[in-house]
Symmetry: C2
Subunit: 299 residues, 2 copies
């Protein structure tokens, strides 16, 4: 029943965001074509598009024009994709595959991967600042501020540093440290995704807080489920090498809580997320379905 | 005579920007302290502070409050410094020293250098978007847009890709290609520096264009002089290994034009720059002195 309303909406959002990125990213021409091609390679390779979906759904609650929401969502996805490109670098996670395809530094080279990541991050702010994103410059500025904070040293990038620290043998993160790390590394941008939709819709402070809280819980539930999949999953389903964290002896929600308690915690968070958006009634049906899907997914 | 008005102003700006960065960068606390320390290491290590000086001087023409101009200048310097951190990486220029000190990936590690660069870039937009930068959100948004465009795929990052392409044996760039590469790699941010001062001061379109044109010519004059110093300089003066470009067989203004014509061209550009700001009278005295200094400098 959940999938009845969610699957088509997720598929439509993924298709729309793919088209939006295709249209909004700079065309591959001129002497810097290699960079522009790498930017596209990094972003147009599919993925769940969870974050853009959140922006589109949050904006949809307030009847924001879809073309505006898509620009903001595309900017946010550029930031997410840049972070994957840099995370995959040999000096970081050293991954050769991403969604079953060679990572950017494998398909191009390491220098191009660093620069394509830099370019995507920069371009995201360029996209948000442009008039097409919203008539009101104050709204655009607020989007810039939200995205910068969510992805900066106290957000995603800070979380990545903590994640690297967690891998040092003997780091032995406890539940509080793992939670903090995940809230920064993945949670901050997921929250920003929902909040940007609210800002585009000039939501009331209460509505904005509710969407932030929803995304906060959704993000943690998503991450705990990722850790569960990392333990239980198979290469076929996730498209990347699994049980990698366990092999490294790195603390995760599952290594600390165990499978059963981790699963229960993810489900509790998903229900909490659902409650946060109850105030929007049927307008939040797909967000509700998403929260349940996130903990039930198999990949 | 030139140095009489320029040296103290440059020193004061360098000191002010150092203090502003010290104050504006996140304090080094919490589990992500290593990242925050690397951000400071990358930015608080001195340097000419040419770009912030341009912002301060351009803003000064229009009596912009110095604390606002310093915030914008600090944001811009964060972007400049992030680009140096990434340029120095082993996969790029592979430099061990910067301004006579170990580069960030040497003083910390490669992953931290990538992430500290990412964090500085992101933080720059955070700084610009915050209310302290300017009362008017439209002005802040315009600063964001200028900085994003100057440092993105068609600006600084694009220029870096062209610079890497120029190093491929047999690339054999001609004057047009070298000029385009330098305009993107260093010129775009130098232009943005002056333009951001003009925007803060709500300069007329004519005044803004004049300052852009000044910075355009100054940037090229600066780069040609850099190439001359690369050939003529000594390690003691520039604090980095010299004649590196020549050793790599890479095309530069000097390799294409020869020393004499390159020097004449730099001087012509500096005079052109001076003419662009003549409309500001004595308010541009220091910008005038700077243009002359840039081509006369020994390091």
């Amino acid at each position: 029943m959940t999938e009845d309303i969610l699957s088509p909406a997720l598929a439509e959002a993924a298709s729309d965001i793919e088209k939006a990125l295709e249209r909004l990213l700079p065309p591959v021409i001129g002497p810097e074509a290699r960079l522009l091609e790498a930017m596209r390679y990094a972003t147009l390779s599919g993925g769940k598009r969870l974050r853009p979906f959140l922006t589109l759904e949050a904006a949809g609650i307030f009847d924001v024009k879809r073309s505006c929401a898509l620009r903001a969502a595309a900017a946010l996805e550029c930031v997410h994709c840049y972070s994957l490109v840099h995370d995959d670098l040999p000096s970081m996670d050293d991954d050769d595959l991403r969604r079953g395809k060679p990572t950017v530094h494998k398909a191009f080279d390491e220098a191009t991967a660093v620069l394509a990541g830099d370019a995507l991050l920069t371009y995201a702010f360029d996209l948000l600042a442009a008039p097409d994103t919203h008539d009101d410059p104050r709204v655009r500025l607020e989007l810039v501020a939200i995205l910068a904070q969510a992805s900066g040293p106290h957000g995603m990038v800070g979380g990545q540093v903590l994640d690297l620290a967690a891998e040092v043998p003997g780091a032995d993160f406890d539940l509080g440290q793992v939670t903090r790390m995940q809230k920064m590394k993945t949670g901050a941008l997921i929250q920003a995704a929902a909040e940007m939709g609210a800002v585009l819709g000039r939501a009331s402070p209460e509505a904005r807080t509710a969407l932030r809280a929803y995304a906060h819980d959704l993000g943690l539930a998503f991450q705990i489920t990722d850790d569960l999949l990392d333990v239980e999953g198979r290469v076929e389903n996730t498209g990347k090498a699994v049980a990698k964290d366990a092999a490294r002896g790195k603390a995760t929600f599952v290594s600390i809580l165990g499978v059963e308690r981790a699963r229960a915690q993810a489900e509790r968070l998903a229900e909490q997320a659902v409650n946060h958006v109850a105030m929007f009634g049927s307008r939040a049906d797909r967000l509700t379905a998403l929260a349940r899907f996130v903990v039930d997914r198999k990949s």
